[in-house]
Structure formats: structure tokens, C-alpha cells
Amino acid sequence: MKVVHYWRAMWGIIGRELLRYVKQRERFIAALVRPLVWLFVFAAGFRSALGIAIAPPYDTYILYEVYITPGLIGMIQLFNGMQSSLSMVYDREMGSMRILLVSPLPRWFLLMSKLLAGVAVSILQVAVFLGIAWFYDIRAPWQGYLWVIPALILSGLMLGALGLLLSSFIKQLENFAGVMNFVIFPMFFMSTALYPLWKLKESSELLYTLAKYNPFSQAVELIRFALYQQFNQEALIFTLVSFLIFISLAILGYNPSKGMMKRKGKM
């Protein structure tokens, strides 16, 4: 199999996903409205209620809006990862997933390309979100906007792989509502996206432990540090290992002879 075949197929999959995203204007707007409402309404309301002490990567007192911004970037990627998995369930029900899976390439490669396509879409969303935040005076050092790109790729891959894994379990589109309740909300609220760990520790030791080991927290911290040109090794390792676990299980899930497809006789 030629490398150029892989290359063309990967760009074909990424291109299709970006094209679909741009054509679905409602999806584009919805993906932006959600974090912006949190930023402009929720964060503004909580500004006075929550004092944020100086803690790395920040070297001064910060506004709550500044603290919450990396968490909202994580939120964009979390929703996007789940949205991609929703579209996989939809594609599978509608049949277009079959066209992908019967193409002459290894299944792991097709799934990885699909995952990268989702990451590309999420980075596009994050770029627009950060642009709007910049006009709202929430600004990171300009180098931070470059530092954050590799962090976004890794966090996007990890959250996308989680979505992919979930999609291999979900038989029907209707079951996706459960993902919202049992995956997205717990992951988001039990994380460092909205409040720092030390604040959580003050209220509950259990909540603190759950938030600390939540892969979403680690992805948010990776983004937060990168945005201020700092490297958080613990968050990097944690996010990378989570990605490898999720993607391995997802590939297994989509393997016709080993995974869930065999068990369900589905696809």
C-alpha cells in the first residue's frame, strides 16, 4: 500500500468533515454560543463570588473569566468529540459509515483519520472562540496562541477517542442522550474547568480526587499551561496515556472479529 494513498485518504476524510462543518451553519453557531454564554454570563456572574488565588501558570491575580477560558476551550473540544461520535452513530445508522469502512485501508487508519478530522474541526472552533475572547479583553501572551496548538491536538485526540469509543458501544442515535447525562456533564463539572483543585479540596475530598484524576481536568490543565507558554508534564503524560487507552479500545470496538461489532452483529 502506497504512502500517497494513505495521505490522500486522510486529507479526503479531514476535508469532508471540515466541508460538512462549514456547510452546517447551525452547528457552527451552536458550538460557539455555548462557551460564549458561559464566558459572558456565567463567568461574569461568578466573578465576585469566586476569588482566584495566584496559582501556576498565572503569576498574578486573575479575573474568573481568565481562569475559565481554558476550561471553556476544553468544553468546546469535549462537545466536539461527542458530536463526532454522534455523527458516527448517525453515519452508521444512515449507512455512510459503510462507505468508509469498505475502503481499502486498514480500519485503525480510517478511525484515526476520522479522529483527526474531528480535531481539525475543534481547533477551528477554538480559534474563533479565542478571537472573540480577545476582543472581550481576555488575552494570553501571543506566543501562547502558538504553544496551545499542540496541546489542542492532543486534548482533541483524547476527547475524540473517548467519543469514538462510546460510539462503538452505542447502537442507536437515541441512546446518545445518555452520553450527555452520564459522560459530558459529569466530566465537565467534576473537573478543573470551572474551579481550581484547591477550591474543590476545601469543599470535598472525594470531589477533589475525582477531579484530579479526571482525564478532562488534565486536558484542561495542559491547555491552560500551554496558553501561558508553560509545560505541564503531569497533564501531558496523563492526557497522552488516556488517549492511548481510549483509542486502543475504540479500534478494538470497531474490529469486526474482536470487538463490539462482532458481539452486536451490527454495522
Binding site: 502506497k2 494513498h5 476535508g15 460538512r20 481499502p104
Partner: protein, 246 residues
């Protein structure tokens, strides 16, 4: 002698303990159009899913142009074009964008893709509509685009899973004629699952599947002789009644 494009050998498959296919064996040669006939639930779609490796099989062997579907999956799939029963086009994208996506998945360069897309669409008189969204096309035109797409990478074997279901008579006729023309011109092998006996030409072969078993397989003449009937629908009825010829 024509080469064998599809060889199914002793395939059995079951869903949660229920046997869907039982020791199924047959072959389709290049230049043959074989109609896979069977009542609902006979196992036709299951067989298609096994040939395309959407399902995995444990017993038996399927080869496409000599490549084992299980062991040489990518080589086997490269020789295969499929039109699934369910529509598989992206409704929000144009005809061209849908076809380009397929050529990318098959590693075809943009230049070559442009040429092949033009050839296939012109054959169906669809080239002028290449920039229209799929959503704007009627069912018959969508099916034509799907068949054109399945042929873009020049497969040796074309699988058609009830592609004319829900289409009006002129659209059906046009698709049937077109596929038979392809078989003659390109030496293509076709396996066509259908309920519609009027789609079959006298030169076609038949594979009759009932309750997961092959009841008859071969030329129309051979099947009519086996069942001692004079028409395909009579032969089909006789073979798919309980206690039919095994």
C-alpha cells in the same frame, strides 16, 4: 475461460445462536451478472456484509479476485465496488464532493479523479448536475450517483444490494440496462441482490437463497431444468416453499 471474481466457499454465519447462513458456496466470474434472489430474511444482506467485511466470519472463505477477504482485506476491498441498500451519500454535499471523497479513499489523484468522475457521470447523463447538492436530486438520480461512485476505482466486482427499490419504472429500467451494459463492456462481475425478477436478463445467472441455504445456482436454463419449470418466478416459488428442492 473467465477468471473468478467472487468465490464464496462453505460460509456459515449466525446471529446470537440463530443460523443466518448455512454452508453457502457459489462463484461469480468476470463478465457474469449473477442475481441473488431470496425472500426477506433469506440472508442476502448478511452475505453482503460478510463479502464487504463489515461482519466477520469464522467458517468458510470468501475471495475477491483471488484475495482472501479476511487475510488480504485491503487488496480484496480495492477490487470491490458496492451499492448498499441504504442510501450512503452525504445529502449536504454536492455530487462532485461526494465522488471526490470516494476517490480520495481509494487513493486516486485529483487529476485522474476529475477524469473518471466525468466519464462515469456522463455515462448516466449526470455530469451537468455535478455541482448540485444530493438533497436536490430525486431517488433515481441519487442511485445513479451511487453506482457511478462504486465504479470510480474501476473494480472487478460490483455488489448491488437492491439498488432499484423505491424507484419508478423508467429509473429502474435505466439502471438495469446500464449495469448490463457495463458487464458486457468492461468484463465486470456483478452480484445483484433483488426481489424483482423482471430485472433479470436471459444471459444472467441465478443464486437462489432461502433460509440461509443455497437452493439453486447457475444459468437460468440450469435452474429451470432443476425445478422443471418454464419461468423464473415459478422456479423461485418452488425453491422457496417449505420442503423445496435442496
Amino acid at each position: 475461460m473467465n477468471k473468478i471474481a467472487l468465490q464464496v466457499e462453505n460460509i456459515s454465519f449466525s446471529y446470537s445462536g440463530k443460523l443466518a447462513l448455512d454452508s453457502v458456496s457459489f462463484e461469480v466470474k468476470n463478465g457474469d451478472c449473477a442475481f441473488l434472489l431470496g425472500p426477506n430474511g433469506a440472508g442476502k444482506s448478511t452475505l453482503f456484509s460478510l463479502i464487504t467485511r463489515l461482519y466477520d466470519y469464522r467458517q468458510g472463505k470468501i475471495s475477491i479476485c483471488g484475495f482472501d477477504v479476511k487475510k488480504q482485506t485491503t487488496k480484496a476491498l480495492a477490487k470491490l465496488g458496492v451499492v448498499f441498500q441504504q442510501p450512503t451519500l452525504d445529502l449536504d454535499l454536492s455530487v462532485m464532493q461526494n465522488l471526490r471523497y470516494h476517490t480520495a479513499l481509494h487513493g486516486i489523484s485529483r487529476k485522474k479523479a476529475r477524469k473518471r468522475i466525468q466519464e462515469e457521470l456522463e455515462r448516466f447523463n449526470m455530469y451537468e448536475r455535478r455541482f448540485e447538492k444530493i438533497r436536490q436530486l430525486n431517488g433515481g438520480h441519487r442511485r445513479r450517483v451511487e453506482i457511478a461512485r462504486a465504479l470510480l476505482h474501476k473494480p472487478s466486482l460490483l455488489l448491488l444490494d437492491e439498488p432499484t427499490v423505491g424507484l419508478d419504472v423508467p429509473s429502474r429500467k435505466s439502471i438495469v440496462e446500464h449495469v448490463h451494459q457495463l458487464v458486457a463492456e468492461r468484463d465486470l462481475a456483478v452480484l445483484w441482490a433483488s426481489h424483482l425478477i423482471d430485472e433479470i436478463y436471459s444471459s444472467d445467472n441465478l443464486v437462489i437463497l432461502h433460509q440461509g441455504k443455497i437452493k439453486a445456482n447457475g444459468s437460468i436454463e440450469k435452474v429451470l431444468n432443476l425445478t422443471q419449470t418454464t419461468a423464473i418466478h415459478e422456479a423461485f416459488q418452488r425453491l422457496t416453499q417449505s420442503g423445496a428442492i435442496a
